[in-house]
Symmetry: C2
Subunit: 382 residues, 2 copies
């Protein structure tokens, strides 16, 4: 609002993406404090929020540098003043000219490889352009995706392939995304230790082979919130902790009171005989992410809540079409009387990264549930 | 390209969204010809493509009016010259001021309700603003989502609620989305007949009760391509037919040669021992839609194809993270030798509407697989 006055939620057209500022601030402070207690820098993964305003807030609280999942994010945040950027997915050769443009424009971009082939692509392109790309080698500490095993012979070969000009080794990085499958604190602590130990071991192997391996970068929200020590690590990466979500709740690394992101929706109709409440948040708003399906509590397409954020156990978000959500009520409920057309509800998402991606901006709530005048834009696309 | 010359696909940064123009044109012509053969107008659902350029092409080929799933689409296409707009989801009361702005700006917007409560919201707001909203009543012909059953007592009550000023009945509309669960041509034909007959019956009930029910609007891509007759219907709606997708292929209403949409991706690495090829199209690019999971052929997160569009049976798109796709190869394959880092592949999506939603624009291919100079923007968000 131009006049800066507060508005109530019912002035918003639905669906709309909401952030509770007080919860967000607590989440940011919690992770920053953890990184400091563990003696490492925090390099937040901005793929979750994709918002320059939010990245700046992380930096104000002590974060150093950012992690991105695309070069479009690097462009966007670099233009917003964040120049220390780790692009944390192995780079495809067709992106090297873009990476070069970023570096020439003043962005201290670090790119990632996990093979001799990719290292050669980067080094050769660097030599041809008279550029020295800073390169991290990805380590696979939990067998879940990309990266070289900490003991892989190829590790030193990749470092050697980076040593002939055109590139220089920045360090090693890993992401123990397999932690998303856990829910026991002891198992999470052990998983965090496996992530740390594997990445530190890879760094030591490189150093023993004569390669300067300055940085050791690890992290995922579950392991970051579970690690007992990060000895030998230089920086911690995490993304979803800013908002938390139902998947993190199921893993056990956050509480309901830390869920900072939700979708505001409106009741558009009912199928009374079936106990259905139809709302205007479908899979485009919520995403098709069903990350809680394998957890103890399956939240369907999201947890239905009142306007002030209390979970409504009597409604399950059962199915979704593009712009329709189908909420199934307990059989005894008269849905049309209890949730008339126009009723506003909030839906907490399974996966914050996926849900936020559908929206161009965040609306911000204060601690009383009132809308603040500001909105925060977010980046879309590649 | 400013100079208008063709480019080959390997000049594109990945992931990128591709449309094959010749296939698109055949798909557009096929549906237009069907509508004409069945003696009805075609009102395409633009929620699939969200592109003004593509909507204009549909109009050039004979389409009359458009269907939208959000008022943001109504804004966008109306600004692009399409003023005959059916907003095909029951309207939440908080959107009425927006609908009013559209009508005052010259958009002949039709809104939808399926309850007396919603009809009262529209009519009362219309009276308060000295506006007569054109309103369709949604009919539920297949028990799958919103709408009143063709025989519901409430049907005439809704029409009566619209008759007191502030609104006027435009007609009835239905969408037999349950057709997505079928794959037998005879069952599809019967389902299309159920959709037609139910909606026409509802219109006749309204007319018998003295309400002018001018329009009878039906459709979904599977039923539109299967209907034997549309007697009593005035217009046909369909969306995904423009691109077709793997779900439509599984239903049996298109062939592989009609799949016009795909995602260009690059190989970024491998896990050789596991037979994994890692690519830079993850769930953000493909969406989490697993619409083929319940069909005869489960395509995972999409069908992997060569640069010239041939399906690669030896690679299955098994898992996806935000910016990573994991393709699983047949055990005998040496993945790094066969698909080296930098190899470009194309992925045909399960659900075109969901995959396209992640991208800000389409890149267009000619019939030889060369990139045309133009790109088509698409709308994002609400």
């Amino acid at each position: 609002m131009a006049d800066g006055t507060l508005r109530s939620l019912d002035t918003l057209e639905t669906p709309a993406l909401l952030v509770e500022r007080a919860r967000l601030e607590r989440n940011l402070a919690r992770m920053q404090a953890r990184a400091e207690a563990l003696g490492v820098r925090l390099r937040p993964h901005v793929k979750t929020h994709k918002s320059v305003a939010l990245g700046q807030r992380q930096a104000e609280l002590g974060a150093r540098g950012i992690t991105v999942s695309t070069l479009a994010e690097a462009d966007h945040f670099s233009a917003g003043g964040a120049h220390d950027v780790l692009y944390a997915a192995c780079i495809a050769p067709n992106k090297l000219p873009h990476a070069l443009r970023l570096r020439r424009a003043g962005c201290a971009l670090v790119v990632v490889v996990d093979s001799v082939a990719a290292a050669h692509h980067v080094a050769e392109f660097g030599r041809s352009q008279d550029e020295r790309f800073a390169v991290a080698i990805e380590i696979d500490t939990d067998d879940h995706r990309a990266g070289l095993a900490p003991d892989a012979c190829e590790l030193t070969e990749v470092a050697a392939a980076l040593a002939g000009g055109g590139a220089e080794l920045w360090g090693v990085m890993t992401h123990a995304g397999g932690s998303y499958a856990l829910s026991d604190p002891a198992a999470l602590r052990a998983f965090a230790e496996r992530e740390r130990a594997g990445c530190v071991h890879a760094a030591e192997r490189l150093r023993a082979a004569g390669h300067a391996c300055r940085e050791v970068s690890v992290g995922s929200t579950p392991t970051a919130l579970s690690a007992a020590t990060l000895a030998g690590v230089t920086e911690l990466r995490a993304g979803v902790y800013v908002f938390q979500d139902l998947v993190m709740l199921g893993i056990g690394v956050c509480t309901r009171e830390e869920l900072a992101l939700s979708v505001l929706t409106s009741v558009t109709g009912h199928q009374r005989a079936k106990g259905w409440v139809l709302v205007d948040a479908g899979w485009l708003a919520m995403s098709r992410d069903r990350g809680t399906a394998g957890q103890t509590h399956d939240h369907g397409y999201g947890a239905v809540a009142t306007l002030d954020g209390r979970f409504l156990a009597e409604l399950a978000f059962r199915d979704a079409n593009q712009e329709h959500g189908i909420l199934l009520a307990e059989p005894s409920l008269d849905v049309a009387a209890r949730f008339p057309v126009g009723t506003q509800l909030r839906i907490f998402p399974n996966h914050a990264c996926a849900t936020a991606a559908a929206f161009p901006r965040y609306h911000v709530l204060d601690e009383h549930g009132e809308l603040l005048p500001e909105t925060w834009d977010r980046l879309h696309g590649w």
